[in-house]
């Protein structure tokens, strides 16, 4: 029932955005809708945690601790992002950078995008999950190309072609899981008796043919890995995440890539029972370390804030993949905490970059100077956000990264931890260097005297509601990093879904 309600509220947002032309009121209604969705998803998580999994709509939808946790993350980032969409669109319309119809399309597609993500995590069938994840690509393509200039169009073209291919590969993986299942039951039929339900697959996982499962899981990892921004098909991510409007980047970087990883986790649970843990462990380590290496080497040359943040997303997905490789219950719980923590902080940083683009007129690192003195609140949020992203306490990313690495070490992956730490040290140095430039004026730099900030009158005031919600977001991250109650038990129970 509660699942239906969550989906209904989200669908209401979609219909509302489709029917009404964009006005600020519509935007506020949509934000409120997403906040209601957030509250409902918290209630769902609480209920599922105490009473066990629930299904609805003839078992089409299914929520256990894991899916309700993911729904919570989606709703949290959506609520945050939709507040900024109002701000972003009002500004764009004020400056006549966009038309009313384009703004209306923007909100409709954004709500569809959120709805598709919710379906992806709440569906009981891995087939429906696939359809929903493909639908997220369709909904976001125009959002990536929203600005309509060459770079944005190039990014959205790359995005849809690469992701369609990637998700197509995941479909082959799904087909072969189904193939293994039909052979288990000794007859093929057009699916009325056999379904692609995840619960069914996991119950029969022990009897599935191991060779076929290996083959299928390889495709799943490659395919959904594309959407999660992992190598080898990651190249769309920095383009799409840097070209999309900031609230969309926040959603894509904060939660879409982890929804794709959620799909990998679901299949990993099946594959681990059939094959033992080593198979997925090896594949995830290879993909994780290569992604980390790529992110750390390409971060050095970045000249633009959003692109820098995009490479950070690849880095954190790599950390998540490595944590999932360790595979113990504690490790998976840490992975989920990292999904939440990274999603929140990354969304905040993208939203700050959107505010910076509005107030300073640029997001290029070389053009931004001494943000901390010219805009103390915005600069402060950005600084703390970066510290959180780098994994410093008290923010939750510290505890999740620490726990993931500890779990990796306990299952004998000490060399992975060592490699990770070296690469993260490189990233740390690079980001500190970039952010020092952005936040604090460099007095030894001769150019800084030539650099004249915009005359104050032409600057835009940053809005109080937006900075307020960002500060609340950062505080949530700090709170879940220091206080384990009540999240810890939910995370452990969600992790148990995967580890069995």
């Amino acid at each position: 029932m509660l699942i239906n309600l969550i989906l209904f509220v989200s669908l209401f947002g979609v219909v509302c955005a489709l029917i009404f032309k964009w006005t600020k009121t519509v935007g506020i209604i949509l934000s409120v809708t997403n906040v209601i969705g957030l509250i409902l998803s918290i209630v769902l998580a609480e209920k599922v945690f105490h009473n066990g999994p629930v299904t609805s709509f003839h078992s089409t939808f299914y929520a256990d601790s894991l899916s309700s946790f993911m729904a919570l993350v989606i709703e949290l980032i959506s609520a945050l992002s939709s507040v900024f969409s109002v701000r972003f669109l009002s500004y764009e319309l004020l400056k006549k950078k966009t038309s009313l119809s384009k703004a209306s399309h923007y909100v409709a597609l954004t709500q569809l995008f959120i709805f598709a993500m919710l379906i992806a995590v709440l569906s009981s069938s891995v087939g429906l999950m696939w359809i929903a994840i493909e639908a997220t690509t369709i909904a976001t393509t125009f959002l990536v190309g929203y600005r309509g200039n060459r770079k944005a169009l190039e990014a959205s073209w790359k995005y849809i072609t690469i992701c369609s291919v990637g998700v197509g590969l995941a479909f082959i993986g799904t087909i072969f899981f189904y193939f293994a299942e039909t052979h288990l039951l000794g007859h093929t039929s057009n699916g009325n008796s056999i379904s692609l339900n995840w619960t069914f697959l996991i119950q029969h996982a022990k009897q599935l043919n191991p060779k076929i499962v290996k083959f299928a899981f390889g495709f799943i990892l490659l395919g959904y890995g594309t959407k999660a921004g992992l190598v080898p098909l990651h190249s769309w991510l920095p383009d799409a995440h840097s070209q999309a409007p900031a609230p969309i980047s926040a959603l894509m970087s904060g939660v879409l890539i982890t929804v794709a990883f959620y799909a990998i986790l679901r299949f990993k649970a099946i594959a681990d029972i059939t094959l033992g843990r080593w198979f997925s462990e090896d594949l995830l380590i290879v993909i994780g370390l290569l992604s980390l290496l790529l992110a750390s080497s390409l971060l050095i040359t970045q000249k633009e804030i959003k692109r820098m943040l995009a490479y950070h997303s690849i880095e954190h997905m790599a950390l998540i993949a490595l944590g999932a490789a360790a595979g113990t219950q504690l490790a998976i719980a840490a992975v989920l905490l990292h999904i939440l923590g990274h999603g929140l902080v990354k969304a905040i940083l993208f939203l700050v970059s959107g505010e910076v683009a509005i107030t300073e007129g640029t997001t290029e690192i070389s053009k931004l100077k001494s943000l901390l003195s010219s805009r103390p609140i915005l600069g402060g949020i950005f600084g703390f956000g970066l510290l959180a992203l780098l994994g410093l306490p008290p923010f939750s990313l510290f505890i999740s990264e620490f726990t993931m690495m500890k779990s990796e070490a306990t299952v004998g992956l000490g060399w992975v931890v060592a490699t990770t730490l070296i690469l993260m040290a490189v990233i740390f140095a690079v980001v500190i260097n970039h952010s020092r430039h952005i936040l604090i004026a460099d007095k030894s730099n001769k150019h800084s005297k030539d650099h004249k900030p915009f005359p104050l009158a032409s600057r835009i005031k940053s809005s109080r509601i937006t900075s307020g919600s960002l500060i609340i977001g950062l505080m949530i991250s700090a709170v879940i990093g220091t206080v384990s109650f009540p999240l810890q038990s939910l995370l452990m129970s969600a992790a148990k879904v995967i580890t069995g």
């Binding site: 069938s125 087939g127 429906l128 696939w130 359809i131 493909e134 639908a135 690509t137 369709i138 393509t141 125009f142 190309g145 309509g148 200039n149 060459r150 770079k151 169009l153 190039e154 990014a155 959205s156 073209w157 790359k158 849809i160 072609t161 369609s164 291919v165 197509g168 479909f171 082959i172 087909i175 189904y178 193939f179 039909t182 052979h183 093929t188 057009n190 699916g191 009325n192 056999i194 379904s195 692609l196 043919n209 060779k211 076929i212 083959f215 920095p238 383009d239 840097s242 070209q243 390409l298 040359t301 970045q302």
Partner: protein
């Protein structure tokens, strides 16, 4: 035996048309070929449905026929008439080399997929490598062609390969998944069409080689 020879013929033709698309640079010819590929793909589904008396599979076959045989090619022609470019002038790899690669892509699945358990167990599932070969040729088209339409055609060939695999080894997926997948694909093609038109307005000539604004 029954309808097996016809199924073999249709499944083989799906791959054949993929190779023809790779071979031809004339965009009109490519679009015709992708339409014929859709028709042969639907024939595989319909023949399977007839031999197994499977109504659901028949529905999938007819849906494939309408969508991939006619609607997609129609949308392609729309882009084609908008763009004005008749030939894919500069693929990254010339035709002869492409054909050599194609032969490798066709050989690999027959070695690799054939080893999987159950795949060689029935006369129909044995054909699964054809689907993988089609998929790889489609991927190769996406990577090596620089024109917007060629890339979309490559994507359709890739998806046709996936459909062929699912038809051959499973006699289709649950109907909801089958239709959901087709609907998604239709939307992807529609989105690509709109995007192609916008790119055409912005860039003039629809040549993806000119899109070099983003790279590291």
């Amino acid at each position: 035996m029954g309808l097996y020879p016809l199924t073999y013929l249709s499944a083989g033709s799906v791959l054949l048309f993929a190779v023809i698309i790779l071979w031809r640079k004339d965009i009109k010819a490519m679009v015709y070929a992708v339409s014929l590929q859709g028709i042969t793909l639907s024939a595989v589904g319909i023949l399977e449905a007839l031999s197994k008396h499977n109504l659901a599979l028949g529905q999938v076959g007819i849906e494939t026929l309408i969508l991939k045989g006619f609607i997609f090619p129609y949308l392609m022609f729309k882009i084609y008439t908008n763009s004005g470019s008749k030939r894919d002038t500069e693929p990254l790899i010339n035709t002869t080399a492409s054909m050599v690669y194609a032969s490798i892509f066709i050989a690999i699945p027959f070695f690799a997929i054939g080893r999987l358990p159950y795949v060689s167990s029935t006369p129909i599932t044995k054909l699964a490598p054809l689907g993988f070969a089609t998929l790889l040729v489609g991927l190769f088209i996406i990577i090596t062609r620089r024109q917007v339409i060629s890339q979309i055609v490559g994507l359709i060939v890739f998806e046709n390969g996936i459909s062929l695999i699912s038809l051959l080894i499973l006699s289709g997926l649950p109907l909801m998944v089958e239709f959901g997948e087709s609907f998604d694909l239709l939307l992807v093609i529609v989105v690509l069409r709109v995007l192609a038109t916008t790119i055409h307005k912005e860039f003039g000539n629809i040549d993806l080689a000119e899109m070099k604004g983003l790279h590291d």
